[in-house]
């Protein structure tokens, strides 16, 4: 069970959230990015690091998207 540290509401049960995946920096929509750039952002995932930055939507709380850092091996949150 994850206790997700929401910056607005404090530690809350994972069931109050829905997962948004990795915190992705999309290519600039106004600049014409290459297909390759979009492919890398949308599809490719570097699974060599254990600590990732990810987004969660707190639907049963502040109704905000939040970004947190989590260790995929230990499920510990880092600030």
């Amino acid at each position: 069970m994850l206790l997700i540290p929401c910056p607005n509401c404090g530690e809350r049960d994972e069931r109050e959230f829905s997962y948004g995946g990795r915190a992705i920096k999309y290519p600039d929509l106004n600049a014409l990015a290459s297909i390759q750039a979009w492919h890398e952002v949308l599809h490719l995932r570097d699974n060599s690091t254990e600590v990732i930055r990810e987004s969660w939507y707190h639907h049963s709380g502040c109704e905000c998207w939040i970004e947190i850092t989590r260790n995929l091996m230990t499920h510990e949150f880092e600030s």
């Binding site: 049960d13 997962y19 499920h75």
Partner: protein
């Protein structure tokens, strides 16, 4: 040694203490034609078909753990081919044909039990979709039926079909050939066959790197030293991204935890496999009497191999919706594994950016049922270097070209597949 009634009788006289090991103890040689990294069902099936169908046995199967110790030994043993998209259907339906005679072919009892797979629908819309899927399956040569609630009641005594539940059952898709196969026996049976054909199987020996010259693979570095080789197949499920990283490229895969559990054993109550679709909860009963249950993924990236209680709770809640008596049972065991789920939820099989390095990954939590078909086709790819029709749609390139195989139609969100 051939297993038979006679060999059973013969070994009874020595108190069953003199059975030979099913896998010979192999020493690592300095070079092989083909190295298969990962001694799970898929890797060992590939080795079996390399030897039996193509006569290639200068092959090494190497694993950081023991044979069948990864996702092969962690799934809920269900086999079926009720897929709508033809790429997914063809491969899994071919596998279903192979399962039928595999025990005889391997001379090893895989306990394939075609007890029928019942996929419950909870609305008219869902039932209509199942009808579409059933028609597609029948056009592809598989059997499929739509069951009314009355027919479900006759087939599965004890199932709760009352209208008072949150998601009443409106019908089901039924595949009579679907069922269960003993997953450990699959790994052992393929391993025994490959080993008896002269293929080396080396366990507890992790691979720590690849030798790549001019973008062509020439060898593998292992805990017991370097091995030169012509071709490498990586068939390592949850460790796939890690091995791709060693070879210098990234995969369109996210690693997500999936859980399964068994109840205490009870008298026979269920002789089919049932899947609840309002959310996900699938269950069957083992020959020992335990109910084996699984649900969807934990829903977020993880390498932890330990599950979230939230998922256990909702999977069991759905199981109890189907069979209220389950609320009286205790869970006996519970485990989880790392599922390698690609951005469109479908497997990635075949060539990689590195020449002579092949990957078979991305099966997520749906790879067990495809095991013999993948081994069959991978063996053909490794010997001929030509992509078999069956695997062609599952190329790594499809993510760049946009030819995705999105069975569920939800886009690049692996935790939702």
């Amino acid at each position: 040694m051939k297993y038979s009634g006679f060999s059973l009788l013969k070994n009874a006289f020595s108190g069953h203490r003199k059975w030979p090991n099913i896998v010979a103890n192999s020493e690592l040689k300095s070079s092989y034609d083909i190295v298969i990294v990962g001694a799970g069902g898929h890797g060992l099936a590939t080795a079996h078909y390399l030897a039996k169908k193509h006569g290639v046995n200068n092959v090494l199967v190497i694993d950081s753990g023991w044979i069948g110790g990864g996702n092969t030994g962690r799934n809920t043993t269900i086999v079926r081919s009720d897929y709508l998209l033809s790429a997914s259907f063809e491969l899994k339906n071919f596998a279903l044909q192979l399962w039928k005679s595999l025990s005889q072919e391997l001379n090893f009892n895989l306990m394939y039990s075609p007890r029928g797979y019942v996929d419950l629908a909870h609305s008219d819309g869902e039932l209509e979709h199942f009808l579409l899927r059933a028609n597609a399956m029948r056009l592809g040569g598989a059997d499929a039926e739509i069951l009314s609630p009355e027919e479900i009641a006759a087939m599965i005594p004890g199932i709760n079909l009352s209208d008072d539940t949150r998601y009443p059952v409106s019908g089901a898709l039924y595949q009579a050939d679907g069922g269960v196969v003993r997953h450990d026996a699959v790994a052992w049976g393929f391993a025994r066959s490959a080993s008896s054909a002269g293929i080396d199987i080396v366990q507890n020996c992790p691979v720590s790197g690849f030798s790549i010259e001019n973008n062509k693979i020439t060898g593998v570095t292992t805990a017991q030293g370097k091995v030169a080789c012509g071709k490498v197949l990586v068939s390592t499920a949850g460790a796939s991204s890690h091995l791709a990283g060693m070879a210098g490229f990234a995969l369109p895969i996210e690693m997500i935890n999936v859980q399964a559990f068994v109840s205490e054993p009870v008298k026979p109550v269920l002789d089919t496999v049932v899947n609840y679709n309002a959310g996900l909860s699938y269950l069957s009963q083992t020959d020992k009497g335990e109910l084996v249950m699984g649900g969807s993924t934990d829903g977020y990236a993880s390498f932890a191999k330990r599950g979230s209680f939230a998922r256990i709770e909702d999977t069991l809640a759905r199981a109890i919706q189907m069979f209220p008596f389950i609320s009286n049972l205790r869970l006996m065991r519970h485990w989880s594994g790392t599922a390698d789920i690609p951005m469109d939820g479908n497997a990635i099989v075949g060539h990689t950016p590195v020449e002579n390095l092949f990957f078979n990954c991305g099966w997520g939590y749906a790879g067990f049922k495809a095991t013999p078909a993948v081994g069959w086709a991978m063996a053909e790819l490794l010997t001929t270097d030509l992509m078999p029709e069956l695997l062609r749609p599952f190329s790594l390139q499809r993510f760049e070209t946009g030819a995705l195989i999105d069975d569920v139609g939800i886009g690049p969100y692996p935790w939702l597949h």
